[in-house]
Point group: C2
Chain length 476, copies 2
């Protein structure tokens, strides 16, 4: 059995690492900054991929694949972009035993290589829009590994679209941000706040960046997805023009957007408890584990026959594990599946068989409940639906309970220091005030929420006029 | 519309490239040796992934993800392996702006990084078997690009399993080879010959390698998948031992196996014709295109209403394109969808509506057939099933017609030179005779077929005794 997990209230950061290692979601690799995603963790990523990919396709997107290696000269074509990404790149200088004439960068993101191809593919308005997504690995140099949250290499999807007008690009940027919000809330059961990033926090090369921001159980913020309106910056850098319907040549408008394996970290930190990870039913590859309990051969046959029939019925809709291993006791099995976060446990002993029922335990509540054998499929289906819903509600309540409205800077510093969480405060919009807060408190502007109230106020730093509140928080 | 495709009998190699570029399956990238897989090509890869992944999971395998970058020292731990792969690696020497202490290789294959992790995960027989697969990009340096067939970076899956005994590893190696054969024949409609590679052609670091070999329309062979019994080589290189049931420490037994985006090249070269690519129905993401034909508004409404209803009915089971673009004529549309290889075309004009029917054209036959509107779903389903079956049969007949049994070396050289195809000849088993044939004719031993007849004979080179025939061919 696994070692003990450090309780969250003792050391949240150690709890996080303990849970991941012991639930076999991921492991450290011998290469600094790199992680291995183990089958239990990768199964969550597959569920994220399947569902997001379906949502992308339903909104007209298609997948493609572009090269891993980007010539140095491409990286340098968009000034902000190279400044933002170059320092964190891994660079190939030797290929096939030869020193390369031009170094090749492992993609930290693919705007440059993709726009070099769009130059070949786009001639006229008839070639637009291009709605391409890519599932890929990217690399941004890191020495300090934080599993799922900060690693050199990570897996993600990156959408790169090309449009005839600013408005269309803006519409796409928002479509995707809303799609991300829907996915993260409805599948991962993580409530998020959608809004615009400040200029200081936007993507290197973007006109503006939108994000969804979640709150972890330690009350720190985690950026769960971003969608960028890139304007014409990359079209200009790569000279990508199209002939519009009037025959005029115009630069193409671009967006890009992505979510990554970081979402697995967000899932763990939103829902996990001191017993392990808790996987929301809709992204659990295996939703149910049945643990049969018996003594002696006679009970064994009776209980296993009964458990087999239950499994068979549930398998019509769900993926079910029947844990009939003989070398482990029920208590050991309970702990193991709790650690791994299987949403629902069913316990079946001789007395349950006699009463024509079984014991059901939701992973998030860990309370035993006796249910009838008849209609078990309906009961389980309803329970998993309810669990999914309540996990989101619980996380939303936590986020709301830990969001503070603050109008005084001393109070602001005190709250950040002692309470943490999200702080809604007025901000004048200047980079200076934003930088001062970051320097004083390490809190950053997470975003300017779309649904904030129009409310006149005074900047919490400089006292100048503000049009509304923004979210400050310390972030992962 | 696309440019003209070079006919196959004029220049097969140019035909291949023309088809890929014009059907927008892939494109050259600005980086030497690298390709871009465009949405039409990637859709085929997604179908390959979905079906293979399901087959892997049905046989107990799970997915995981290991790092892209491998320390140089790991590559050097298995002597044959480093000799085979090192010269074709891309090497990262700079990370985060700093010269690295140890160079990192972009994975050409992942045995070394994976076995360094298995060392952490395997202690006892209880930890075995490990049945892990990875979907990933790999890189083997290439300057001459041949789209899908030979590129530096390519996409593949690589299985890496760990077992307690040689027998179990051997069983796994064969299980996967048979799974590959089944997939390639039943989904890609490409007949293959399964067998063992000669020692000269086996994987660098393997005990032995099994392969499936296909024949392209130019009669050259293409290796479509390989499965390796690695013995204890990697366990020894990485010191991976387990405690067996008797408490003894033993080295672990390994297998690895893979197929790649090369399969898309095989599909194109097996089934394509002078009009473009032909996608077997089971791996077509879009199986049917409906082309409505009308003149004037009245006909338009009538035809489109009818076509909409047909589409709606077929959408219950298939993905259907209704090509109602006004700016293109029917003939243009026919050519475009033929180029892209959509398996079935349905043409609907006013006369078809009047007769309560429609015209159906199979992509592989290009013959028009009038079918009834009633039962269209059943007709289409049966037609696609038949098409899938006949594509395999046609390719198998081609392979059989171009397989020669040769017992004289002069005849052998003449056949290779003038006819091409597979040549079944006796071989004594020596590396010298194998090397001489390769030097004289460029033909290699594709494999030693599992189902070859036990037949005494004389080696076609040295005249020594042989136990049976092997397949010689020029290969991609």
């Amino acid at each position: 059995m696994a070692e003990k997990i450090t309780p969250r209230n003792v050391d949240y950061s150690r709890w996080y690492t303990d849970v991941i290692l012991q639930a076999k979601l991921a492991d450290y690799s011998p290469v600094k900054g790199a992680m291995v995603i183990r089958p239990n963790g990768y199964a969550i990523w597959e569920m994220i991929q399947q569902n997001l990919d379906r949502m992308f396709k339903e909104t007209g997107h298609v997948n493609a694949y572009f090269p891993l290696l980007i010539p140095e000269s491409f990286m340098k074509k968009e000034a902000e972009h190279v400044e933002g990404f170059s320092p964190e790149c891994a660079v190939v200088t030797i290929g096939g035993g030869q020193e390369l004439e031009e170094p090749l960068y492992i993609r930290p993101t693919s705007e440059t290589i993709i726009w070099s191809m769009y130059k070949k593919w786009i001639m006229s308005y008839r070639d637009l829009p291009i709605l391409i997504n890519q599932w890929a690995n990217v690399l941004r140099w890191e020495l300090r590994t934080r599993l799922f949250l900060r690693t050199s290499e990570f897996l993600w999807q990156e959408g790169h679209t090309a449009h005839a007008t600013y408005e269309e690009a803006e519409q796409e940027t928002m479509l995707i941000l809303n799609l991300y919000k829907k996915f993260v809330e409805e599948y991962l059961a993580i409530p998020v706040i959608a809004g615009r990033k400040s200029d200081a926090e936007k993507f290197a090369g973007a006109l503006h960046t939108y994000s969804i921001e979640a709150m972890m159980q330690d009350k720190k913020a985690l950026q769960a997805g971003t969608s960028h309106n890139l304007g014409q910056n990359f079209a200009k850098a790569f000279d990508v023009k199209f002939q519009d319907q009037q025959g005029q040549l115009q630069y193409v408008w671009a967006t890009s957007w992505g979510v990554s394996t970081r979402l697995i970290g967000a899932l763990i930190m939103t829902h996990g408890d001191d017993n392990g990870v808790v996987i929301p039913p809709r992204v659990a590859q295996r939703q149910i584990v049945i643990v049969p309990i018996w003594r002696g051969e006679e009970e064994k046959k009776q209980v296993l026959d009964y458990a087999d029939a239950v499994k068979k019925e549930l398998t019509k809709e769900f993926t079910v594990i029947l844990d009939d291993r003989e070398q482990y006791k029920p208590g050991y099995k309970f702990a193991e599946w709790e650690l791994q976060g299987i949403p629902l446990r069913l316990e079946i002993g001789p007395r349950d068989v006699a009463k024509n029922g079984l014991v059901m335990v939701r992973r998030d509540l860990l309370k035993k409940e006796f249910i009838a054998r008849d209609g078990v499929l309906q009961t389980v289906r309803a329970t998993l639906d309810l669990m999914q819903k309540e996990m989101l509600e619980r996380a939303r309540k936590f986020q709301e309970d830990n969001t503070h409205q603050v109008d005084d800077y001393n109070q602001f510093k005190k709250t950040i220091e002692e309470e943490g969480g999200f702080i809604n405060s007025h901000w004048c919009g200047s980079a200076e005030c934003e930088a001062k807060i970051k320097e004083d408190t390490k809190a950053t502007i997470r975003n300017i929420p779309f649904d904030r109230k129009a409310e006149k106020g005074k900047c919490i730093i400089c006292g100048k006029e503000s049009e509304g509140r923004v979210i400050f928080a310390k972030a992962y």
